[in-house]
């Protein structure tokens, strides 16, 4: 992924999240306060607005900017979580112009580490980490298989439905949180699906 592809990925993600704004908020209505769609929309809107200004940034700096923008604008728990993830990717990709197999693996595993620290959470807690973590593992040293990555994201998302939520607002529901897909897991799935779409388009 080069810096242009990264921008493409972010634009597509933003459009996708806007389309699914109400769906994400409805999911969050069951487990939280019903604002996840609005939050993600607000955050990625700001990112897309920023893209025009951040013309000459390296890939690393771009990711950092995306992260700090998400932290500033999302407003809910997803802000510091997604924000930390992007900032850690940015840090991992210092000096890298083109993310390849091992850089993907390194960047994503740093992002996962960041989310786990920030959220004081681990996999199985029924959060967006349950998408990010299997996605990070689906990156191997070689060139990424985007189909594998997309399906890892999808399975991670689906798996949250059966989990008792342990972190965030949903945790207060206890056993009653079972039966609902985590909204942050869904937005993360869209993010990685758009990544796969962007990268697959570039391969053609």
């Amino acid at each position: 992924m080069n810096v242009e592809q990264a921008k493409q990925w972010l634009r597509q993600t933003s459009a996708r999240l806007s389309e699914h704004k109400d769906e994400l908020s409805t999911l969050d209505h069951a487990l939280g306060d019903g604002d996840h769609g609005v939050n993600m929309h607000r955050g990625f809107q700001a990112v897309v607005e920023g893209l025009d200004e951040w013309e000459d940034l390296s890939l690393s700096s771009l990711m950092q900017k995306v992260g700090s923008t998400l932290v500033s604008k999302v407003g809910g728990a997803a802000g510091p979580l997604y924000g930390t993830a992007f900032m850690r990717m940015g840090a991992a990709w210092k000096g890298i112009e083109q993310v390849n197999g091992s850089a993907w693996s390194e960047g994503l595993s740093k992002a996962v580490e960041g989310i786990a620290q920030r959220g004081k959470t681990s996999t199985g807690d029924g959060t967006l980490l349950d998408v990010w973590s299997p996605v990070a593992e689906a990156f191997t040293e070689g060139e990424p298989s985007w189909d594998n990555i997309e399906s890892a994201a999808y399975k991670g998302m689906e798996a949250t439905e059966e989990m008792v939520v342990k972190k965030g607002r949903g945790a207060l529901l206890g056993e009653q949180s079972v039966g609902h897909i985590d909204p942050g897991a869904v937005s993360s799935y869209y993010l990685f699906q758009e990544l796969a779409n962007t990268m697959k388009a570039g391969e053609q």
Partner: protein
């Protein structure tokens, strides 16, 4: 009558009125303690903004220790981000109940207690009801 105190309190909430109302209530208990508040997003929506937390922090003398109270979890994550961005400052986040712990904090801060003491009193010295 009060000793000089070197601990300021910062209230971070998802709702501006809640943070500002807490500040008003607690400031009455001791007008000499530095109490700051921020809440909500720029557009008036419910949420917390690290920009607003930072702006509040910038109002506090940089030598003053800061004890942060928050309403719910995501406010804490944002407060932690600001804390990490300002490692040169002495900022501590309290898990005490925001209003009740904040009330104890303003009293003990007003008596000249240290940051650690204020934090401990806010978290443990709080009692309600009988």
């Amino acid at each position: 009558m009060m000793e000089e105190n070197n601990v300021a309190l910062l209230f971070v909430s998802h709702v501006e009125a809640l943070a500002e109302g807490a500040r008003e209530l607690l400031q009455q208990a001791n007008p000499d303690v530095g109490i700051y508040s921020c809440g909500g997003l720029e557009d008036g929506e419910i949420g917390t903004s690290i920009d607003r937390i930072e702006a509040s922090l910038n109002k506090i003398d940089s030598e003053t220790d800061v004890l942060v109270f928050y309403d719910i979890g995501s406010a804490k994550m944002n407060a932690e981000m600001v804390q990490e961005m300002h490692e040169e400052r002495n900022i501590v986040i309290s898990d005490a109940p925001m209003i009740e712990g904040g009330y104890v904090a303003v009293i003990t801060a007003g008596l000249g207690a240290s940051l650690e003491e204020v934090k401990r009193d806010a978290e443990e010295g709080y009692s309600k009801g009988e």
